[in-house]
Symmetry: C2
Subunit: 215 residues, 2 copies
DNA sequence: TCGGTAAGCTGACGGCATGACAGGACAAGT
DNA sequence: ACTTGTCCTGTCATGCCGTCAGCTTACCGA
């Protein structure tokens, strides 16, 4: 799909070039963690990477372009989130376990990539299709799996027919994403991680099966 | 609380001053709706308001400062969201109606203020306490009411004791906020508003009462 | 070993936004 | 008309943006 990495002016990047490019991406990632998105300047990223702004513009059209690149990499990793749902059963004790592990895995992924995910979220909310697509790519891996699980349950008559699996799955995943990006916020407030997770798991279980879990 | 509106250099603003100040805020609000946060420049806001950048800096330290001002105004309005929960009963048919109206009202508020809320969300996620406080101010009005409702239900033995009302209410509100800010996203995808809302209401009802609603 | 060629990097530059200031325009009271 | 305090803007130094020409470095075939 990607074919070859190319510079803005069309040259193909060699070993050294790819290294600098990656270094710029890494530094940008760090900057995003430590300072507000609005204040991240090309010159700072370049300085941090021990190179010049001109070099940055050789590989990326602008900051946004570079962020998209990082996000793309992350989205590829994120596809493995599917494993949190696929092949799971949602009945009995293992159903509760599935919910718990889904919450745990999701929050963990978000925590690890919070800086970039913030920006992706913003871009998507602003209506930028490229960011929206990336967000979808990540969330879809979970949403689709969940939707499938729910359809199966519906087919077996275990879940009301008038529920839209897609809407329900989408809402649940959106909730997980939202709580994840404001984890620190919850802490600063009264709510502790320890009591947050089980409640999320409960909501997930309730949403998918319509029933209280048997713990 | 606010006392008097003051310029950056300490003067008190008179009638005319307050008017230009407000005009700048309005224009900034419009700009935020039409272009990415990162690209909103002081000079554009000033031009749009028919004034000069210097005037802008007389009233606000920077773009962020002005955004905070708008957000503060919005948060004050937003406090009335409490009415969506307070004095509601969560049993029987009126319980379902309460859930539906909460969802409806919340989404509507978010849709009306999406541009600023995006930025507030970003600021909060980046750890800026000022933005976080504003976000709290809005969400708390709903969260606290919900928490109270749940505590009452718990006291009556209608809800499991091992649930943390605060965590549950917080999660539900976070979900509403998240879905609201990606409403367009859901639409672009397959999910329609019409099927989204009932599902959200269902989740809210399930979360608060632990039971399926009687419609 | 030695060019030749393409990749890789940077200094320098015009352009624009930022943020500060001092001074001019304006409204209101005397 | 004159004074006073509010309000706005022209101007300027500073710093980042984004581009280009040109220099250095690595690779490769003869």
């Amino acid at each position: 799909m990607t074919g070859q990495v190319r510079t803005v002016d069309g040259r193909v990047a060699g070993r050294r070039g790819q290294a600098t490019r990656q270094k710029l991406l890494d530094c940008l990632g760090e900057m995003l963690s430590s300072s507000p998105y609005r204040d991240v300047k090309v010159i700072d990223v370049a300085r941090k990477a021990g190179t010049s702004p001109a070099t940055f513009y050789q590989y990326f059209p602008d900051v946004e372009g570079a962020v998209l690149e990082i996000a793309e990499q992350m989205a590829t990793e994120g596809a493995q989130l599917t494993s949190l749902v696929e092949g799971r059963t949602w009945v009995g004790k293992s159903g509760w376990a599935a919910a718990e592990e889904l919450v745990e895995g999701f929050l963990e992924f978000w925590r690890r990539n919070d800086a970039i995910l913030r920006v992706v979220d913003l871009g998507a909310a602003e209506g930028d299709k490229r960011f929206y697509k990336i967000r979808m790519k990540i969330l879809n891996s979970v949403t689709n799996s969940l939707t499938e699980s729910m359809k199966e349950l519906q087919a077996k008559g275990k879940v009301d027919k008038d529920i839209s699996p897609a809407a329900m799955a989408g809402s649940l995943v959106a909730m997980l994403a939202a709580v994840a990006s404001h984890q620190k916020g919850f802490q600063t407030w009264g709510v502790k991680q320890a009591e947050l997770k089980p409640n999320l798991a409960l909501l997930v279980h309730l949403g998918i099966t319509g029933k209280k879990p048997t713990k």
